[in-house]
């Protein structure tokens, strides 16, 4: 039976791109559907009635939502090129840090770039520094979070590996992830975006910077 894999996403969302990164790493063919979140399609509302959000993966008609849930589904369904370690403790570690990135790092990144005022942005930048230090420590002795190859946690950290840089440029925020402060993370980010499955899944940079700048403004200008 022919397999049908659909991915509902938006071109600039790191969450949707996570799903594409995982599928590309495993060489799974899929059809991508760009959503306009200001005018959600009947398909999106049908496949994710609870949250009405992207990304949604639809595999042979069955929908899976929430990007980290989707990543685990992908790894359990297509067993080539595993993105999850086999050891239960390593798996728990990957899940823990993936949650950490979504629940702690992402809000701090947004506030550091586009917080309401200078004070809020500085406070968030300080907080983000502390959070990034944890991830820096996680990379000790490793090329990727997944070890020798890209894994689930590397994909979950795509926001840090690529989107952070775009947000910094768009908002005018001073560099938050520097080689001096976080040498391992800095190196990791460069290695991450060089992997072809990842590179192919990144939004076009100039378009992305312009889009974020237009949407959120350039707040970190010297006044």
């Amino acid at each position: 039976m022919a397999e049908e894999v659909l991915v509902f996403g938006t071109w600039s969302s790191p969450y949707g791109r996570r799903v594409e990164m995982a599928l590309k790493l495993k060489g799974i063919e899929y059809k991508y559907i760009e959503e306009d979140l200001t005018n959600k399609s009947p398909s999106l509302l049908k496949y994710n009635p609870v949250h009405k959000k992207i990304p949604v993966l639809v595999h042979n008609g069955k929908p899976v939502a929430e990007s980290l849930v989707i990543l685990e589904y992908i790894d359990e369904t297509w067993k080539n090129h595993p993105i999850f370690p086999k050891d239960p403790y390593e798996r728990a570690n990957a899940r823990f840090w993936a949650k950490f990135i979504d629940e702690k790092c992402l809000p701090a990144i947004r506030k550091a770039c586009w917080g309401e005022d200078q004070k809020e942005r500085e406070k968030a930048a300080e907080e983000l520094s502390k959070l990034l230090q944890f991830l820096e420590n996680e990379l000790e002795g490793k090329r990727y979070f997944g070890g020798g190859t890209i894994g689930l946690l590397d994909i979950a950290a795509n926001m840090i590996g690529y989107w952070l840089g775009v947000f910094e440029e768009a908002s005018g925020a001073s560099e938050l992830l520097t080689r001096e402060k976080f040498p391992k993370l800095f190196n990791w980010a460069n290695e991450f975006v060089s992997v072809s499955a990842i590179k192919e899944s990144l939004p076009p940079r100039d378009k992305h910077v312009a889009f974020m700048r237009k949407r959120f403004g350039m707040v970190n200008t010297s006044k």
């Binding site: 929430e66 849930v69 899940r95």
Partner: protein, 225 residues
């Protein structure tokens, strides 16, 4: 010795769900009671990122975050599996677990802590809309896991007693048996399981726990300009 320890607190629904999982699999463990108002060096050492309970220690290695711990337990002790085998069913269990923890619990808590008024009424309505979504998931099934208690039952396990305590303290009724017959029946089946029942704190303690939390929350709301 198996070397399993659980750092937790007696009233925490996130901790009890770990005890349920360990007991369902017959895993012996030592419970280390934590005082969250005076966090121990042990907790700060084993969960430096969040400084929260529960933390499971297995052969000295720490695992934090209750869903992560539940999956670790399921992958380490393979008897009485908590998650289904089929990847799609597993993804559904994970999806609904997130929904229950990120939306339902907070929805219920908000409906409980808000003081009487329009906002409280709106919160009650929202909380019930969320419960209606869970109701649909349990319709026609004995447990969320099917014939036996599973991962999602443990995660939604706050409903029979913790929700009850929230309702009592907040002066609300969310889990209406008439409106949510399947969820109501599931609560009774769930509570009838001896392992589940064994770990639940006395109602009095849960009510005190929420009294403390809700009074504090209300005081914050008043303090805000």
């Amino acid at each position: 010795m198996a070397g399993v320890k659980l750092i937790g607190t007696a009233q925490s629904l996130n901790c009890i769900r770990i005890e349920w999982a360990l007991k369902l699999k017959g895993v012996e463990y030592e419970l280390i009671e934590e005082d969250l108002l005076n966090k121990s060096p042990l907790l700060l050492k084993y969960n430096p990122v969040h400084k929260k309970v529960p933390v499971l220690l297995h052969h000295g290695k720490p695992i934090a975050e209750s869903h992560v711990i539940l999956e670790y337990i399921d992958e380490t002790w393979k008897n009485n599996p908590l998650l289904p085998e089929d990847p799609y069913e597993r993804s559904m269990a994970r999806f609904w677990a997130k929904f229950s923890d990120e939306k339902c619990i907070f929805g219920a808590y908000e409906a409980a802590w808000l003081e009487e008024g329009e906002e409280k009424q709106k919160a009650i309505q929202s909380a019930q809309e969320l419960l209606a979504i869970l109701e649909k998931q349990i319709e026609g099934k004995k447990y969320f896991g099917g014939e036996v208690v599973g991962f999602l039952d443990l995660v939604v396990g706050w409903i029979p007693r913790w929700l009850n305590a929230m309702e009592e303290v907040g002066g609300i009724k969310l889990l209406d048996a008439e409106r949510f017959p399947s969820l109501h029946e599931w609560s009774q089946n769930f509570m009838a399981n001896p392992v589940i029942k064994e770990c639940i704190p006395p109602q009095e303690k849960l009510v005190n726990y929420f009294n403390f939390g809700i009074s504090y929350r209300r005081s914050l709301a008043v303090a805000k300009p």
